[in-house]
């Protein structure tokens, strides 16, 4: 399944939001749902679940709460628990938009393709949409039912002629059937609709290379390698393209880079598979996070560490890792929140005071930085790093 994900680069985590609140919802419950949603979006999964528990005490049959719980459990890779939540949603409101869709997507993650097809069809009966049709086509394609897949993608295009994913996936089917020209036509349509999509650029480059057009494929691969330096596949194919146009030295350079990246990719896939199979195993998520971080895949690494943190919520190391990744990702506000959260549990952690000060400095808040480093020195008066940092503020 991961192969297909990477091949087509279609995001599988596009879940419907819990935004179908009834007009007569209890304001207290609505407030809790808002808090839970915020916690969920910021990666505080345990908090999100706890808040939904509180909401259910007030309103035990609030359908939006169960839907949100389904989404949280999905992010935590507890797919069975997610299914229970979505089933509850449907028992309370059989017409709830997105419940069947999310169950379908979870079924694809579990490689249960017939179930995925049934779920997407149920969703389509209620809410026909191009996005669901594309997902249905994808499940059919993975099951080897090519005609049905093509039919679903064509339906998606009829429903929404601007659905880029439908064009890309239809192009993929044509490629597999040996009609590269047609595949390139559809990929061009998809890319025109979503010109910044790096996954689509990679697909276009690969089709051109397959079509014997290495020179034309170069800018597509180069766009991917420059934006995703961890992208093994683009490096490999860029190397192939360069070799074929006679630029052997550069080609070899990218092939060598690809070879190095391949090890990391394999490591990530191994840990990801293991973690998804054993979602309660803390170390699997930590290893996955570390592997992703080593490859420079910051957002994905953060997601893995957030799951780990939900298993071990008192882990300062994990919280610190996440804060550091937030910082690397440019999210200083989240980084500060997470450093402060650690310090509220143990204010003697000098390294955290140090990191907090660094974030403040990088945000131009010198006084806050000074205060953080001074606090750190209270616990470790001889810390030369903190002293040196403080000197830089003078």
């Amino acid at each position: 399944m991961n192969k297909k994900l990477l091949l087509m680069g279609i995001c599988v985590s596009c879940f419907f939001n819990a935004c179908q609140k009834k007009p007569d919802i209890d304001p207290a419950v609505a407030g809790l749902i808002f808090q839970a949603e915020t916690a969920f979006r910021n990666g505080y999964y345990n908090a999100a679940l706890t808040i939904t528990d509180s909401a259910l005490v007030i309103s035990p049959h609030e359908v939006d709460v169960f839907f949100l719980r389904g989404r949280v459990f999905t992010n935590l890779a507890r797919l069975n628990k997610a299914e229970v939540a979505y089933r509850t949603v449907l028992s309370l409101n059989p017409n709830y938009q997105g419940a069947w869709f999310n169950m379908g997507t979870n079924s694809i993650r579990q490689d249960d393709l017939p179930a995925a097809i049934a779920h997407y069809k149920s969703e389509l009966l209620l809410y026909p949409s191009a996005r669901t049709m594309v997902q249905l086509g994808r499940a059919y394609a993975d099951l080897g039912k090519i005609d049905s897949a093509a039919f679903a993608y064509e339906d998606a295009i009829k429903t929404d002629s601007k659905n880029a994913a439908a064009y890309m996936r239809l192009g993929h089917l044509y490629k597999d059937s040996g009609d590269i020209t047609k595949a390139i036509e559809y990929a061009t349509s998809g890319l025109n609709l979503d010109p910044g999509n790096l996954d689509y650029k990679y697909i276009m480059g690969s089709l051109l290379l397959l079509n014997g057009e290495p020179q034309v494929s170069l800018p597509f691969f180069q766009a991917v390698t420059s934006n995703r330096p961890w992208h093994y596949w683009a490096h490999h194919n860029l190397g192939q393209a360069l070799y074929r146009i006679g630029n052997e030295a550069k080609g070899q350079h990218y092939m060598d880079m690809a070879k190095e990246l391949q090890k990391g990719i394999q490591e990530v896939e191994n840990w990801r598979n293991l973690a998804n199979l054993n979602p309660d195993q803390l170390m699997l998520w930590i290893n996955l996070g570390n592997s992703l971080k080593n490859m420079g895949r910051i957002q994905e690494a953060k997601d893995a560490f957030l799951v780990a943190l939900s298993i071990s919520p008192m882990s300062f190391a994990l919280q610190n890792n996440i804060a550091n990744l937030c910082l690397m990702d440019g999210d200083t506000a989240q980084a500060i929140i997470r450093y402060k959260a650690i310090l509220s549990l143990d204010s003697t952690l000098v390294d955290i005071w140090l990191n907090l000060g660094v974030v403040h400095v990088s945000s131009g808040r010198k006084n806050d930085a000074r205060q953080a480093w001074m606090e750190g020195l209270e616990y470790d008066p001889d810390n030369t790093t903190l002293k040196d940092y403080l000197k830089t503020l003078n």
Binding site: L113, G144, G178, L209, L210, G251, K259, L277
Partner: protein
Amino acid sequence: MSLFPAGKITVFFVVILFITCDSKQPASTNEIQINFTNVTATAGLANFRHVTGAVGDKWFPESMGSGGGFIDYNGDGWSDILLVGGGTWPGKSVAVAPALFLYHNNQDGTFKNVTAAAGLDDLHTYGFGITVADYDNDDDQDFFFTTIWQNHLFRNDKGTFTNVSLGSGLEKDSFWSTTAIFFDADQDGWVDLYVGSYVDWSPENDIWCTLDGNTKNYCTPELYDGVPSRFYRNNGDGTFSDKTEQAGFLPSPGKMLGAAELDFNNDGWPDLAVASDTQRDLLYVNNGDGTFKEIGAVSGMAYDENGRARAGMGIDAGVVDKSGKETIFVGNFSKEMIGVFRHQSGNFFEDRAAISKIGRPSLMTLTFGLFLFDAELDGDLDLFTANGHVQIGIEDTQDGIYYREPSHLFLNDGDGHFTDIVPSISGPLDRPIVGRGAAYADYDKNGTLDILVTENGGPVHLFRNENNENNFLRVNVRPSSGNRNGLSTKLVGITKNKRMERRVKTGSSFMSHSETTVTFGLGSEEVLDSLYVYWPNNSMEMFHNIHSGKEINITEGQGKLAVQ
């Protein structure tokens, strides 16, 4: 397109021969019916059972299966059958399975078990593959047998075999070996040996794997370290020397399951394509002196279109279209297409899996045995694959994937576009089996190529090719000096409408051995207009106007054809 390979060519003879024969009336292409009959029982092979030795431990080698193939052990010109019996684990099973089974061709469509009479009944091991060649140049067919422990070299002494492993130089290593291939890498006239190695597995380091999280199942090779394959130079005195490193075969990732000899750059030196399981496939280009350089990744044949290593199993190579370029075919795991890579130019190959129309129909099957042959004798190489999964009960956990799978028979339209005809014909190829090894030969000497398929933990199948409408010409070659089987000889047959390029070779497929006789399918043509023979020493001979319906022998430098 040149008919001549690069390099120096010496033309010895140009002979025009007319061989009369009673060719059958031609049939139009539209009327040709492909049909195979399962003749296993009537041929006397029904009692054979491959043994996995499984007693519930789910040890990795039990899922691998083994090969078999054709050998003319008594030199009577009829293909006999040699099968690998599998094996049992010491201390685990009361019954000990024989390692090898040899069946004598009675020349009437039946076979007789002559394992004991041929001296092959006293070997007990856990076996996998065979490769056949006359390694000592004494005009008979010897064979090499791979196992999970020590491998074995059997010398043919006028129809009986002697295990000459000890002292041969081939007995020292004790790795899990898979497919082996004889070929004359340095063209010194003595066939060398490449022995594929798989992974570092033993009962002591066996890993617990599962499909459902509860019960143990067979592991896949990602969990074990690969063991590099080995290359042995034939010393010409009955012994071999390990020249793996000197010949350029190190480093290598191991996990090798298939090897095919080819000459993609047409320089007259044999190259080697290797299929690796969950590792990149390899392409060894001959440096022109019997040493090699590995260029798989750069060439574009090592990975799928996204640079991902697949589970390479069986492999073969041949010219399948009008480009005249060699194409490599690699059998892969379920949800991985069969790899199809056609030589483009220089050291580059192009991915033709989709364009050839083989990719999609092969996507859901797990292919082990795989070979090119002219199934309907129309002059084009077609592709047969033996399929079967490694996980018993896979259908319970993965939709659309089955433990027992039908075979594929991809018919070539003459320009490298294929159609799998198995779904549209009823017959033995459509019957789901746990396919592993696969080989071909014209065992009944009617000119058509018959198929032998082994199953893991099951019977062997002999499928007789019932297509007898088209004309054919079968050719055996014998160099004046050097390797007696004429390995690496290239033959090009020309008719009014076709150019057919074939190579004499061992290896290919999965742990199995096909006949080395070359078959030209002539369709409705009654005469092969020209036959060019490119000998391993780069000399070339031409023959013209050869009538069909015969098997002929060509000895290098004699300038004439002998009808068998």
